[in-house]
C-alpha cells in the first residue's frame, strides 16, 4: 500500500505541481489538493500507464451519482490507492 501511495503521490506532485509533502494518505484530491478535472485526467493517464490498469473513473462517477458510494470512497488518496491495488490484483498475469 505504501508503495502505491508513494507512486500516486509522486504522480500528483509532478503532474499538478503540488508540494510532495502536502500530499498525505488522508488528502482529498479535490477538496484538499484542489485538483481540477483536466489535471485529474493527466493524473489518471499517468496512473493507468504506471500500473498498467484502466481506472474505471466513469463507473465510479456513476456509482457516486446513483448513491452507491460517496466521493470520499474514491477520491481520498488512501481509498484511491486501495482501488488501484484491487485493479492491479485483478489484472491478468
Amino acid at each position: 500500500m505504501q508503495e502505491t501511495f508513494n507512486a500516486v503521490a509522486d504522480i500528483i506532485s509532478e503532474t499538478c505541481n503540488i508540494d510532495r509533502e502536502k500530499i498525505r494518505p488522508e488528502s482529498h484530491t479535490i477538496n484538499d489538493l484542489g485538483i481540477d478535472s483536466l489535471d485529474f485526467l493527466d493524473v489518471t493517464f499517468a496512473i493507468d500507464k504506471r500500473f498498467g490498469i484502466k481506472m474505471p473513473i466513469e463507473k465510479w462517477m456513476q456509482d457516486i451519482n446513483e448513491g452507491k458510494g460517496s466521493v470520499d470512497d474514491y477520491f481520498i488518496l488512501n481509498n484511491l490507492c486501495s482501488r488501484i491495488e484491487e485493479l492491479r490484483a485483478a489484472k491478468p498475469a
Binding site: 483536466l38 485526467l41 493527466d42 489518471t44 493517464f45 493507468d48 500507464k49 484502466k54 481506472m55 474505471p56 473513473i57 466513469e58 463507473k59 462517477m61
Partner: protein, 155 residues
C-alpha cells in the same frame, strides 16, 4: 479541407482499430478567406488548423474505437511542433496513433506530413462523453460516411 466550415480532413484512407491507427488525406485549398488575413501577401495554413487537423483525425479514430457511441472532445495538446510552412494547394497526409484509451478519455499522437516531409506533430488528448444529443450523433455519423468510414446505420 473546407477551412471556413472547420472540416480539416477530406477522407479517411485507412483505419485499423486493432493497431489503433488512422490515416487521412486533406488538400489545402488554393483560395480561402483565411489566407486573406494569414497572411496578406504570404498565405500559409495557420498552425492552429494543423493542430485541429490532427485532433479531427485522432477524433475519428476514437469514434471508431468507441463504435460511434461516444464523442471525443479536444482537451489537451502536448508538445506541438509546427515544423514547416504549408502553402495553399498543398496535399497533406494526417495520421494518428492511439496511445491510451482510458475511462472517459483518450490519448493519441498525431502527425501531419506533406511531400516535403514532416509538417507538424502533437500529442492530442480527448475527453470522451456520450453524445450530448441524438441530432449531433447523427450529424457525426453522416460526416463520418462522407469521410469514407462505415459507422453504424441510422436508427
Amino acid at each position: 479541407m473546407r477551412l471556413e466550415y472547420f472540416q480539416l480532413i477530406d477522407r479517411v484512407e485507412a483505419v485499423d482499430p486493432t493497431a489503433g491507427t488512422i490515416r487521412a488525406s486533406a488538400q489545402v485549398p488554393v483560395q480561402s478567406t483565411i489566407f486573406e488575413g494569414h497572411f496578406p501577401g504570404y498565405p500559409i495554413l495557420p498552425g492552429v488548423l494543423m493542430i485541429e487537423s490532427m485532433a479531427q483525425t485522432g477524433g475519428n479514430l476514437i469514434l471508431v474505437l468507441e463504435n460511434f457511441a461516444r464523442m471525443p472532445f479536444l482537451a489537451q495538446v502536448e508538445q506541438a511542433k509546427l515544423r514547416r510552412f504549408v502553402e495553399p494547394g498543398t496535399p497533406l497526409t494526417i495520421t494518428a496513433k492511439l496511445v491510451h484509451l482510458g475511462s472517459g478519455y483518450a490519448v493519441t499522437q498525431g502527425r501531419v506530413e506533406s511531400e516535403a516531409g514532416l509538417v507538424a506533430e502533437a500529442g492530442i488528448r480527448f475527453r470522451t462523453l456520450p453524445f450530448p444529443s441524438e441530432e449531433m450523433r447523427q450529424l457525426m455519423l453522416d460526416h463520418a460516411r462522407r469521410l469514407g468510414l462505415e459507422p453504424p446505420m441510422r436508427a
